[in-house]
Symmetry: C2
């Protein structure tokens, strides 16, 4: 089955208490396309200054894979500068956040897998 991501764009203001509005391209139609093994698989787009706020994972992990841009990733309390090509894993029981601190659009893949 093939479909275009154009069909599945949503915008979310203040994601997890973050700044601005994140564009989310939903790559799967909910958990059933992940056989109930995960919660989301999204292409995320953040303009400069936009962020996903600090939040905890309980019962799952979340993996961010940075496609474009630069930012600051809160890695369970430690701030790390991240760029395209970096993989950020928030394990079950940890906290994380991500802000686009650069001048370009930040794009990343987000995947949540149940623990």
């Amino acid at each position: 089955m093939v479909r275009t991501s154009e069909e599945q764009k949503v915008r979310k203001a203040n994601a997890r208490g973050g700044a601005g509005e994140v564009e989310m391209r939903l790559l799967v139609n909910g958990a059933e396309e992940l056989y109930g093994k995960g919660k989301l698989f999204n292409h995320m787009v953040m303009e400069p200054g936009v962020s996903v706020g600090l939040h905890a994972h309980d019962g799952d992990n979340e993996i961010y894979y940075i496609l474009t841009g630069t930012g600051e990733y809160n890695d369970n309390g430690t701030i790390v500068t991240v760029k395209a090509g970096d993989v950020c894993i928030c394990n079950d029981g940890e906290i994380h956040a991500l802000i686009n601190t650069g001048s370009e659009v930040m794009e990343f893949i987000a995947l949540v897998v149940n623990s």
Copy 2:
């Protein structure tokens, strides 16, 4: 935890019997970082003419998310032209293949989830 994908590049010739050599950037260190719920989460890079050969999924699905380029996707026997932004899902029990038929590099995310 943050790491660069530079650490995890591998090249695979004739992937699934396909043509040429696919560059695979392994975004996770095996199934354990997917809590055993999936088998791989890769950033794939194929030069023009390179392909992943036709193969079946048995016990899992595979999702391709096209980041750049154009190609032909074999969707369980039907050939579909695909481009950046398209999502291709091969469900458990189905077959699929992907070839870069364009003049640019084709990049895509591949995710395998156990059924």
